[in-house]
């Protein structure tokens, strides 16, 4: 088993929390992990990404080679497109469709969606809305993780358990809302998968 995932977003949007959940679940499943992150200048509202690789064999490169990513999991639609050269021919984009506009020349959302629709069976998620339904707009990253969970290559129950462990210190209400958000994402992606 080998899974190459690019996590994408804007500095401050919480992609490292997604990475931390997957890492934890992968470690508990006895898998090998490599996961890069961006620290420093770009964290101030710039484009950030994390290369996450899990495998049952040895992993050499911390970076995913071009054309080798099974998933691009993005919490922002423009950022999903930035890493297209990494996407494998049969790779899939899973992204939030809520734009984060902190630049003047942000393209039109229609153009972005059109590009996304041109890719291989993308999963497009109204993450903020679902997070709000779950009870907290800030959990949209867990919505996105839920939407991706069936494609990650780790038991989805294990992922959910990892969320519980990661947020444990913040109290049971926080754990509950994050798990609820995760399930919202899971449901949406299941519906989309059965529709197509």
């Amino acid at each position: 088993m080998q899974s190459n995932i690019i996590l994408a977003g804007v500095g401050g949007q919480g992609i490292l929390t997604i990475a931390a959940v997957i890492d934890r679940a992968a470690l508990q499943s006895g898998l090998t992990i490599r996961q890069t992150e961006v620290h420093g200048m770009s964290q101030r509202g710039g484009a950030v990404q994390s290369h996450l690789r899990i495998s049952d064999k040895e992993i050499y490169s911390d970076l995913i080679p071009e054309g080798a990513a099974d998933l691009i999991l993005s919490v922002e639609p423009l950022e999903a497109l930035r890493y297209m050269p990494f996407l494998a021919p049969d790779g899939r984009i899973i992204t939030s469709i809520d734009p984060f506009i902190n630049i003047e020349n942000y393209p039109s959302i229609e153009d972005i969606l059109a590009e996304l629709h041109r890719t291989n069976r993308p999963v497009l998620v109204n993450a903020t809305e679902l997070a709000r339904e779950a009870g907290n707009a800030k959990t949209s990253n867990m919505v996105m993780l839920g939407a991706a969970s069936r494609y990650i290559g780790i038991d989805e129950k294990q992922l959910e358990a990892a969320i519980g462990e990661l947020f444990h210190g913040k109290g049971s209400a926080i754990v509950a809302v994050n798990i609820k958000a995760f399930r919202k994402g899971q449901e949406l992606s299941q519906t989309q998968a059965t529709e197509t």
């Binding site: 961006v38 200048m41 050499y60 970076l63 080679p65 497109l81």
Partner: protein
């Protein structure tokens, strides 16, 4: 399973803790910061606790680490690559004195300049100082190498340079620990013949260092960090540091079987290299950084059968990856998609509500009234004032250079001459420049953006802020009436413009300190209070 997921930087930290260090000394700098931060969070259970607070700059850090080593204890000193420029005087000379307790210098280079002004290669410094250099390629190897580096340092009585690069520093992988070692007892050394570098001692010590080079090479020949992955075919790869990972990735992905010589300890193990050259017709030299050893190998063996960064087989600048290595071996990577045309850059920017924004709002307003409106600046979050929509600063070279460059320009006759510098940068290396300016009476205005923290690198404790900064300026000799403070808030715009308008035309040195806490740091403090830790 006992594996824990650690960043490469953290693996060094844990390795050093388990090797029994008594102190870490460092000034923050991406991508090295997390080494010290990890020790700060995880040192309390060590006996005695490991000394770990931030130093004023890399030179003070290095010298303190050397002092701890002099006293017989193991010490770690960490910095980013450009930090070694600041510490270079101490670093090079400590190779002449040698060490007592183990001294390891962990330096993180930043090829591709993700968060830096250049991509200088610290291995050059290692070679220059004639010290052993370690460059492991995985997080586990970093842990093991960090542990062993202290033993190596004590056995050869020299500092050891541990080099890592951004990708490894900031990538997580599982790391397994071995049992921790106790700290060294205090055993300071009376050895003035080594540590007093007057010429007669220095010459003898230098000859000793030269004499050790053969032994260091022998240690490299035997090191587990230098190993051959056997293979077939007429092309071989010498892969240095993290380049080994990319090379092996290509070898695995394309089911190839070429031999790979991994280099993770310097000086270069000449015999191992020669044997690869004997068995292969063509050698690809893959180095993360400058073509330091490619140049050397071209000198040894002639350039005809060597490929690398110098002949364009690999790109001359920037970090390597599996794709550049694949192309270097004549294989086209598998990418099928390209970035759509509509995708635009998203550069970093100052946070919403950041005090630097309000400072620049006032400053650009005032500067626009002058024909010449040069603002000399420095390194920190406030450097983002160089970008749209502020375009407020016009230089950023090296830490501290704002004040001294403004001084030089003022001495040349430029009016007005204005410098903008952060609190941490000021105490790192701005204070001495201000003293120069005061001694010369150079007409310039220094604005210290005091946000009570070292924000750019993640909000570390700054050496002096608030009233201590005012007192430092007084102590350096600033006249009281030209030492002003402002609070950079939208509501104070008019007031701040007025103060700057008064000080900037002054024909002497004036200092305006803009005091307001970084909103990110303030939020972080609040969060940790709420969660009760």
């Amino acid at each position: 399973m006992n594996k824990q997921l650690l960043l490469g930087a953290e693996a060094i930290a844990l390795g050093a803790l388990d090797a029994g260090i008594s102190g870490v000394y460092a000034y923050p700098g991406t991508p090295s910061t997390e080494i010290t931060e990890y020790i700060q969070k995880n040192h309390a259970d060590r006996i005695p606790p490991v000394r770990s607070s931030w130093s004023a700059n890399e030179k003070t850090a290095y010298e303190a680490a050397l002092g701890m080593s002099y006293a017989g204890k193991r010490s770690l000193v960490c910095m980013k690559h450009v930090g070694l420029n600041v510490a270079a005087d101490a670093f090079i000379n400590s190779a002449i004195t040698g060490v007592n307790g183990g001294l390891v210098v962990a330096v993180a280079d930043d090829p591709s300049m993700h968060s830096s002004q250049n991509e200088q290669d610290s291995r050059v410094y290692g070679k220059f100082a004639m010290l052993p250099v370690l460059e492991p390629s995985s997080q586990q190897d970093l842990y093991n190498a960090a542990r062993e580096a202290f033993k190596l340092s004590e056995s050869v009585q020299l500092p050891v340079l541990l080099r890592l690069t951004t990708r490894l520093a900031h990538s997580r992988a599982g790391v397994e620990r071995t049992s921790a070692q106790p700290q060294n007892p205090l055993h300071a050394l009376y050895a003035p013949e080594r540590f007093v570098l007057i010429p007669q001692n220095a010459r003898r010590q230098y000859n000793l260092l030269l004499g050790k080079q053969k032994d260091l090479e022998q240690l490299s020949e035997q090191s587990w960090l230098n190993r051959l992955v056997t293979g077939t075919g007429s092309t071989g790869v010498i892969a240095f540091g993290i380049a080994f990972n990319y090379t092996m990735e290509v070898r695995q992905a394309f089911a190839l079987d070429f031999p790979v010589l991994q280099i993770g300890q310097y000086p270069l193990p000449r015999k191992q290299v020669e044997s690869l050259f004997t068995s292969c017709d063509t050698i690809l030299v893959a180095e993360e950084g400058y073509p330091v050893y490619e140049e050397l190998l071209r000198g040894y063996f002639g350039g005809d059968n060597i490929r690398g960064r110098m002949d364009g087989t690999l790109p001359r600048a920037g970090e390597l990856n599996a794709d550049t290595i694949a192309r270097g071996l004549g294989i086209e990577p598998k990418a099928v998609f390209t970035v759509p045309d509509i995708v635009v850059n998203r550069p970093p920017s100052l946070c919403k509500g950041c005090g630097h924004r309000d400072l620049y709002a006032a400053l650009t307003k005032v500067m626009s009234s002058f024909a010449e409106h040069h603002v000399f600046s420095d390194i920190g979050c406030y450097t983002l004032g160089a970008l749209e929509p502020f375009n407020a600063i016009h230089t950023c070279v090296d830490m501290g250079a704002s004040i001294t460059m403004a001084k030089g320009a003022a001495d040349a006759g430029l009016r007005p001459a204005v410098a903008v510098i952060g609190d941490s940068t000021f105490t790192h290396s701005g204070m001495t420049g201000l003293l120069d300016a005061i001694n010369d009476g150079s007409p310039l205005t220094v604005i210290i953006a005091d946000n009570d923290t070292t924000a750019m690198t993640g909000g570390q404790q700054s050496s002096a802020t608030g009233s201590r900064l005012l007192n430092i300026c007084r102590g350096l000799g600033i006249e009281e009436q030209h030492l002003r403070t402002i609070i950079p808030l939208k509501s104070n715009l008019e007031e701040n413009i007025r103060v700057l308008k008064e000080e900037i035309p002054y024909e002497g040195v004036s200092v305006v300190i803009a005091q307001r806490e970084c909103v990110e740091t303030a939020a972080r403090k609040k969060r940790s209070k709420v969660s009760g830790t």
